[in-house]
Amino acid sequence: MPRDSLAQLGDDALMGLYAAGDPFAAHLLMDRLLPPTLRYAARVLADRAEAEDVAQEAMLRLWRIAPDWRSGEAQPRTWLYRVVTNLCNDRLRARKRRSVVPIDEVAEPLDPAAGVLAEIIEDERMAALTLALQCLPERQRQAVILRHIEGLTNPEIAAILEIGVEAVESLTARGKRALQAILAGQKVEIGYADEE
C-alpha cells in the first residue's frame, strides 16, 4: 500500500499491516507512538537514558504482539502507556532496592550560558515540575502525568493503571494538591513571583 494512503489509517489498522509485512507501517507507528511513549517514561523516571531504554522495550513488545493484536479492543497508544507504566514500576522498585536517588540528577544546576533569561526561567520551571513530580507517590505521579501532561481521559487512565475511574479522580486530585503545595515554596525560584 502507498505510504500516503497508510498515513490516513488509524494505529489499529497499521498494526495489522505491520503484522502482514508492510514495510512502511512500522515507520508510521514509530513516528506516532514513540514520542508520547518516551515523554511519559521520561516524566515518570526523570532520567532520559532510562526512559529511552523503557521506550525501546515497550515498542519492541508492541512489534511482537502485532500478529495477535485484536483490532477494536484497545488502542496501541493506550496499550503502550500500560506497558511503560509497568516497566517504570519495575525500575522504580529496583531503584528503591539500590537506594539510588535520581532527584540529584534532576536538580542539576542549569548552565547560565545556555540561553536568554526567559529560556533559563522556563528550564527552571520544568526542572521544578520534574522535581515536584518525583516527590509524589508512584501512582499519583503516573495519574497526574497521564491526565495533565499527556491529556488522557479518566477512563483511559483507569484502563492503563488498572484501577477504577473514581480512584483515578482521587489520585489526580490529591496529586495536583500535593504538587501545588510543593511548588508554592519555589515560586520565587521558578520565576512566578515576578508575574504576580
Binding site: P23, A26, L38, E52, Q56, W63, M126, L129
Partner: protein
C-alpha cells in the same frame, strides 16, 4: 491561568523529540521482528512421509497401488468359489489349478 496548569501546558510542549539513535534502534527491532514473523509464516519443508509419497508419484498413485495390493492379498487368501469358474471362462478349462496359498497349521498338531 493557574500556575500549575501553566506548568503542565509548558511541559506538554517542552519535551525533546526522540533522538535519531533511539529511532534507529526501534526501527531495527521492528525490522528484525517482522522478518521473524515472515519466517514463521513461510511454508515448512516437506517431511519424510511427503518425500516418500512423492517418489511413488503422489498420494493418488500411492493409494491406488496400496488398494490393488490389499485386494490381491484378500482374493488369494479367501479364494472365492466363483474365482475358478471365472478363470475357466477367461483362460479355458483346467489351465489353472487351485493352490492353497495359506495352508492351515492344524496338521502340525496331529500326533503320528
Amino acid at each position: 491561568m493557574n500556575d500549575l496548569d501553566d506548568l503542565f501546558a509548558q511541559a506538554r510542549q517542552s519535551s525533546p523529540p526522540p533522538s535519531a539513535e533511539l529511532a534507529a534502534r526501534v526501527m531495527a527491532d521492528a525490522e528484525v521482528t517482522q522478518a521473524r514473523m515472515r519466517q514463521r509464516s513461510a511454508p515448512a519443508r516437506p517431511g519424510l512421509l511427503a518425500f516418500v509419497v512423492q517418489i511413488f508419484g503422489g498420494a493418488g498413485a500411492l493409494t491406488g497401488g496400496l488398494t490393488a495390493g490389499v485386494v490381491g492379498l484378500a482374493l488369494g487368501y479367501l479364494q472365492p468359489d466363483s474365482l475358478p469358474s471365472l478363470s475357466y471362462l477367461l483362460l479355458g478349462a483346467s489351465s489353472v489349478e487351485e493352490m492353497d496359498l495359506m495352508p492351515g497349521i492344524d496338521t502340525l498338531f496331529l500326533e503320528e
